[in-house]
């Protein structure tokens, strides 16, 4: 059962990765190129020797980008299927498609949107190499805290479900999540390493493209996985009609 779901999750993730790669190629790469052009211009102006090119730009923007996004997509799909395997049947009477779509929506918010409001994606030329350790640490702390807060919020909604009704329980849980986010956002240090003269337009478009790539990934996984999981779980659900969920 779990194995079947996992395999489907990996495959749906791979498909999502292919589509996200196409999106990244069209909307992301032009911004990366502009950022690198800025980086080289800066290096020239300060008389620095240009960085040796270990991997050509064509490789980075082609097979390298494809590898990164496809591996990421497959891993996302696989992890998604494991979360689904746990959540399915534990979220009231929500069916496979609804469960999948809900996990994708909450996951996209908790894993991508909320952390990126604090530590947004940065193009090349933005970011000091000496602070990479520190920045990576904060980035992952932010994601872990955000996921923990979302899991807690879902738990809270379930506890309040019968007493307040579905809508009010969800609103209270959503507000609780926002409060946690506001506190964490205030508590963690800000990072701003954007060079003074870096184009605001390129930065904005890069970040929109980055968010768009994630939106493609999570939408395809959320809707696609629900569709393929339906058949897998239907078999099991019908075998045990005695257990019914409200």
């Amino acid at each position: 059962m779990v194995g079947k779901l996992l395999l489907r999750g990996l495959l749906v993730g791979l498909v999502a990765g292919i589509l996200a790669f196409a999106f990244a190629r069209v909307y992301g790469e032009p911004q990366v190129d502009k950022a690198i052009a800025f980086e080289e211009q800066q290096a020239q102006a300060t008389g620095e020797a240009p960085e040796p090119e270990m991997v050509s730009r064509a490789t980075q923007a082609g097979i390298g980008l494809a590898t990164g996004v496809l591996v990421y997509g497959a891993a996302l799909g696989g992890l998604f299927s494991l979360v689904f395997a746990y959540a399915y049947g534990r979220l009231g009477s929500l069916g496979p498609r609804g469960t999948s779509a809900l996990i994708a929506l909450l996951g996209f918010l908790a894993v991508i949107v909320v952390p990126s409001l604090k530590y947004p994606a940065n193009p090349p030329a933005v970011g000091n190499a000496e602070t990479i350790g520190y920045r990576t640490e904060l980035f992952f702390i932010m994601i872990v805290v955000s996921i923990a807060a979302m899991v807690a919020a879902v738990g809270l909604a379930q506890r309040l479900w019968n007493r307040l009704g579905a809508w009010n329980a969800s609103i209270v849980a959503g507000l609780a999540f926002l409060v946690v986010f506001a506190l964490v956002k205030a508590a963690l240090p800000d990072i701003n390493e954007v060079p003074e003269t870096f184009s605001a337009t390129v930065l904005w478009q890069f970040r929109v493209a980055s968010l768009g790539i994630q939106l493609v990934l999570w939408t395809v996984v959320g809707l696609g996985f629900g569709a393929v999981a339906e058949r897998v779980v239907a078999v099991r659900d019908q075998r045990s009609p005695a257990r019914r969920y409200a």
């Binding site: 996992l6 990421y72 790539i213």
Partner: protein, 69 residues
């Protein structure tokens, strides 16, 4: 009463945790490792010497939102 007995409705059935746990641990670890190689290897931490992995997935790493450089 007879309706509920003879017309079973098929609600979602949860997978028991003990069935899920081995998958979650082993597959979960493998999948996290995949994310690590795309997102963080040869950045803040390094398992493989050099910068080949970093340079190869460079664009993806930036565009997927990971801290890079």
């Amino acid at each position: 009463m007879s309706d509920t007995t003879f017309a079973p409705s098929y609600g979602p059935v949860a997978i028991p945790v003990r069935e899920l746990l081995p998958w979650a641990i082993f597959a979960g670890l493998m999948l996290m490792l995949m994310l690590y190689f795309v997102g963080a290897e040869e950045g803040a931490t390094s398992l493989i010497r050099g910068t080949a992995v970093h340079e190869f997935v460079h664009d993806g790493r930036h565009l997927l939102g990971f801290p890079c450089h």
